[in-house]
Symmetry: C2
Subunit: 289 residues, 2 copies
């Protein structure tokens, strides 16, 4: 399977970057993950915008690859090469500040950013969506720029590992007594018929699926309040679910071994799952020739 | 010039890691920087200990390279190759969780960590030490595991860049109204004859030079209080200085364009500079055959 690296398509095994790439020594970069639906990039515009905004936030030199069209072309080539034009897949793009002698301050102007992209096959966890998943709470120790989708992901990785070791799907991060988000998902609760979720500030990564789900909720006439759920409130919510690019809408029925809601997926979660899948099926996904 | 990479000594230009190295995609790794004095590793024991503790904190598989002896051998070979046995240099070692398909949770057991090491020539900034340096204050937005020397360094890089653009040597990080540390240094103040510095908790990286300087202060009969300086206090301190592996002791004479102390290096700073350099000269540095 090929990957894209700095203008070339190369076998994944031989795709390498310098040990002096600032991605490797500083975690100095951003990334994005798209859901590929029938060969198209779902919510392409939103993902491109977030990638561009991330580059601006980090003051990365914006590479030519960060255009809607260039990314479509790149994804099409990678998907064709992998034989993934028809099924489910993900498209991953990472941009770092490039290769330079190791100094904390930025490298000289003109240092080209590193651009890496790959596709991977993907199987949506539909069975788990029916039964509902479990989560564990983990202290949110991340920095205060979680709104930028950077590769500063060590705390996320550590939290996800904790969840996995405790037999759970996801870690629900808790900072100052409130639920912020998951290790790679957003978290939403249903309280008295209203969807509650952490506001899109610097303490969470405002997911593309989060935005889509809030749109779908509005269409379905479900009230939304962007106000965090406290840890105290968590145990009494009617429904709890995750949203994410590879997670879609995933009901959580147990957290820290305590039953949430009725211990099964609730009506709001189910309605949103159906609405999201309908949008995925119906949306004219970004066309790739 | 050669670098060390996973058991081999290779030219720096051809030293590469997989795009799937967890250092590159997650910033999932640790590093260490030694001061090389006349071919020896200054405060070698402390640096090795911190590296080993970092590996434990991140639950990295500890590679064979993380022994005192193996690191000495590695440094000796790199220094000889670079012709740096006699002069000033730095020795850099980085360990990541290795190469694996990209998932937040840890890769399968047995995945070998990536080990990268290099040496670089170094010129201590002696002229600046005489005149004193300047700094700017920058909000400390980092995560809450600053006590582990990880490659999650994007906020440090952004802060250092801000300092450089404002004509300053270093960024003094401020969180909740108190000075934590610099972007790659610790910060100490002299207030009424007592050295004040942030306690070694999860909000700072407890520098090796910080520890050495606090020892030297005790030897010199200077009182030390590990209590942070508030931003309000900062403007009225008698002396302010940075400590670090490549910084040694560096007086700060202006912060945010405001004069600190008398605008020149103070007696405590000067005494500590002399004591640190004496220790560097006198210490039986780690012997490398």
């Amino acid at each position: 399977m090929s990957v894209y690296l700095n203008g070339s398509y190369v076998p994944r095994e031989s795709a390498t970057v310098s040990v002096l790439d600032r991605g490797f020594v500083f975690g100095d970069g951003i990334y994005e993950v798209w859901r590929v639906v029938r060969g198209g990039l779902f919510e392409h515009e939103r993902h491109v915008r977030r990638l561009v905004e991330g580059a601006e936030a980090l003051r990365l030199t914006r590479p030519a690859e960060l255009s809607r069209r260039a990314l479509e072309t790149m994804a099409a080539r990678l998907l064709a090469d992998a034989g993934l034009q028809a099924g489910e897949a993900t498209f991953y793009v990472q941009v770092t500040r490039g290769v330079a002698p190791r100094t904390h301050h930025f490298p000289p102007e003109g240092t080209p950013p590193t651009v890496f992209a790959m596709v991977n096959p993907f199987s949506p966890p539909e069975a788990l969506r029916v039964s509902g998943a479990t989560a564990v709470t983990v202290p949110d120790v991340r920095w205060h720029r979680c709104n930028v989708k950077t590769i500063q992901l060590l705390p996320n990785a550590m939290a996800k590992q904790q969840a996995q070791e405790r037999g759970a799907l996801e870690a629900v991060l808790v900072r100052d007594g409130v639920v912020t988000e998951g290790s790679h998902t957003n978290v939403m609760a249903v309280v008295g018929g209203t969807i509650r979720t952490h506001p899109a500030n610097e303490l969470i990564l405002a997911g593309v699926t989060r935005a889509v789900v809030l749109e779908l909720a509005a269409e379905l006439g479900i009230a939304v309040e962007e106000r965090p759920v406290t840890l105290d409130e968590l145990w009494g919510v009617d429904e709890l679910f995750l949203t994410g690019t590879t997670t879609d809408v995933m009901p959580l029925v147990r957290v820290d071994d305590r039953v949430i809601g009725g211990g099964t997926s609730g009506p709001v979660s189910r309605a949103l799952i159906a609405a999201l899948h309908a949008r995925m099926d119906a949306t004219p996904v970004s066309k790739i020739e």
